[in-house]
């Protein structure tokens, strides 16, 4: 009975004139707001004076904003740099490009993205605007910055001083856990295993995956797996592992925070991030202009001053007095260095992943 009365009351309210008027007004306001939102959204997107950059996020992108985007906006009189994050997840890029709904003009991607068949997903750079690598047809990707996959250790936890990958795999001489990134990708763990097993640095590719996994198997019980590059460095600096395969930039960040971590540069793997223009990007011309600024020999190394990655342009110079210099992947630091071959990964992911998973589950 009581309930029925309530329902009746509610029904009266719903059908009352004031309510209807209020409701109607609400709908109009909501629609108006929607229109405003739509128009402002498309306004920002279609105005020719903007360029949307998608990066990996985090501290790197903050540093890119300071080193590149703010000065670019000032220099290029009013091309606004709009930012998004998530470019390190290539699935997101591929899905958007395949759906023909790309909101980005320029993307910072890892070396394993944008070679071979994937070039169909990209818009080539305009070599009249950007400085294309000489003698290469590779106008689809511009090297942006370089980082290093290195051996890092915790000096107060490890007995002695490991200096190369052979030491990394020697659990008798250097007892303790090893931190590795659990990813069948270009983080350097397969290369490290092969270098430790005696493969010369210049004949690493194509990787002998079976041999690498066999070598990794010799320390399998001593491995602590990390799920992100930050965590790998964290495990070493925090002392959970005595050493690990980390990216030099992560080691730098740990040192900045007072972490206990040192880098052994022998057998460093040089990784390169690239700029690409997704096919269907709304502002290709502006993307070329921004890319030209970011990769120019004069400005490309500006990032290195505030973030520990080296310039991607070989003509760009870093000063030895820069704060990050000790953590930059410069050639003088390392013997037996190699370059992480993104193209090899891109075309071998399927077998590599299967073998790696099978090895993990053994």
């Amino acid at each position: 009975m009581h309930a029925t009365n309530n329902h009746a009351r509610v029904r009266n309210i719903l059908s009352s004139r004031p309510f209807k008027r209020m409701f109607g007004a609400g709908v109009v306001i909501a629609m108006g707001a929607g229109l405003v939102a739509c128009s402002s959204g498309s306004g920002a997107g279609s105005a020719s004076a903007s360029v949307t950059f998608i990066g990996g996020g985090g501290q790197l992108q903050e540093a890119q904003t300071k080193a590149y985007f703010s000065p670019f906006e000032k220099a290029k009189s009013g091309i606004k740099v709009v930012q998004d994050t998530g470019s390190t997840n290539p699935a997101k890029l591929v899905a958007a490009i395949q759906a023909g709904n790309v909101g980005w003009d320029l993307a910072d991607v890892n070396a394993d993205f944008g070679t071979g068949d994937q070039q169909k997903l990209l818009q080539p750079f305009d070599c009249a605007v950007v400085e294309c690598p000489s003698g290469e047809s590779e106008t689809y990707r511009l090297p942006l910055h370089a980082y290093a996959s290195v051996l890092a250790y915790n000096p107060s936890k490890v007995s002695g001083e490991p200096s190369n990958w052979a030491d990394f795999f020697d659990v008798k001489k250097f007892p303790g856990k090893r931190a590795l990134l659990k990813e069948a990708g270009p983080s350097g763990i397969f290369e490290a295993a092969l270098l430790a097993d005696g493969v010369p640095a210049d004949t690493l590719y194509p990787l002998d995956v079976d041999r690498a996994l066999k070598k990794l198997g010799t320390i399998k019980n001593s491995i602590v797996w990390a799920t992100s590059p930050t965590q790998t460095a964290d495990l070493v600096a925090g002392g959970v592992a005595v050493m690990g395969n980390v990216f030099s930039g992560q080691a730098y960040a740990q040192v900045k925070n007072g972490g206990d971590i040192k880098v052994a540069w022998d057998g460093m793997g040089l990784g390169v991030d690239y700029l690409v223009i997704p096919k269907g990007a709304p502002h290709v011309a502006n993307a070329n202009k921004l890319a030209a600024y970011m990769t120019d020999a004069a400005t490309n190394a500006d990032l290195a001053k505030i973030y520990p990655v080296g310039p991607g342009n070989p003509k760009a110079r870093v000063d030895k007095t820069t704060a990050t210099f000790d953590f930059l992947p410069t050639p003088d630091k390392s013997s037996h260095q190699y370059t992480l071959n993104g193209a090899w990964y891109a075309s071998n992911y399927s077998t590599l992943t299967t073998k790696f998973q099978r090895w993990l589950q053994q």
């Binding site: 329902h7 029904r11 290539p90 990708g185 992943t353 299967t354 993990l360």
Partner: protein
């Protein structure tokens, strides 16, 4: 107990009249579900069959990697249900049988983790469980162990993390069922000379059965899809299926294969729900039947 009183025919008609108008209120939600859930799901199904071909399914079903992973996923889900039940049953019993303020405090405590991000909670567990975490450091200092124990990076870590996230579902299902048990039944049993243990085993436990099944089913089915917790706390050598789906899509950019893995998980879940429906009234889980 069954509080669904049959309304008089007239009231029913009126009730229905009101309800049909109220039904319009569900439209935005239904539209959102259709656009953001049903359509993508259908798209995923099509893509799993067409990108490049239905061979995706053959590949998955014939690969030991994926079969093992489905088995691990089911096993971890079973363990999670067991842990939730062992921890949740006594808790729910106290909650259902205590005075209102205490029951409310207990309810608040069980719901509190809901208001914290799963990511934060899962990383918080690493502070406790890792080799130089609180538990191992404490035990090492006391001299009870000489080497740190592996508390995470294995099935233990996954189960602990997942049980914490899913415990509220179990407790709430149990409490709902237990509150429906008339305390007079236990009193009657005691007054007939039956001891407290036998009264619990013969009267309370069977009557709480629906809650156990409902809670178990909801925890089990939810556990099948967990990604973050096993990725952070789990055994890297025994990935759950969600981790392999992410790898397939994110690293291999194989949307068809990833879709096939997802569809198989969905079918598996539906089959389990169907089997579960023989023991549990599914309407109870989705809230269509409750105390009105």
């Amino acid at each position: 107990m069954s509080s669904q009183m049959a309304p008089s025919p007239g009231a029913a008609v009126r009730f229905r009249g009101v309800r049909s108008r109220w039904g319009a209120l569900a439209l935005p939600g239904a539209a959102a579900l259709a656009v953001f859930f049903v359509v993508p799901l259908a798209y995923m199904l099509v893509r799993s069959l067409s990108d490049p071909s239905p061979r995706n399914y053959v590949e998955v079903i014939t690969s030991s990697i994926y079969l093992k992973s489905y088995a691990t996923t089911l096993l971890v889900a079973v363990w999670t249900v067991v842990v939730c039940l062992v921890l949740g049953y006594p808790y729910a019993y106290v909650m259902a049988r205590s005075s209102r303020p205490i029951s409310m405090i207990l309810g608040f405590c069980v719901l509190m983790p809901f208001w914290m991000s799963i990511l934060v909670r899962t990383y918080a567990w690493t502070v406790w469980l890792q080799d130089n975490g609180l538990i191992n450091t404490f035990l090492l200092r006391l001299g009870l162990i000489r080497e740190p124990m592996a508390l995470m990076g294995n099935a233990l870590g996954t189960t602990v993390g997942m049980a914490q996230v899913l415990l509220p579902f179990m407790v709430l299902s149990l409490v709902t069922a237990m509150k429906r048990i008339d305390p007079a039944l236990e009193l009657a049993s005691r007054s007939l000379g039956v001891g407290p243990v036998r009264t619990f085993l013969r009267v309370f436990l069977p009557l709480s059965g629906p809650g156990v099944f409902a809670g178990g089913l909801i925890v089990f089915v939810t556990a099948l899809g967990f990604y973050l917790t096993p990725a952070i706390l789990g055994d890297p050598t025994k990935p759950l299926i969600s981790q392999l789906i992410v790898e397939r899509v994110n690293t291999l950019l194989d949307f068809g294969g990833g879709g096939a893995l997802g569809i198989i998980l969905l079918v598996l879940t539906l089959v389990i729900l169907l089997i579960g429906a023989r023991f549990v009234d599914l309407k109870e889980i989705v809230g269509l039947r409750g105390e009105s």
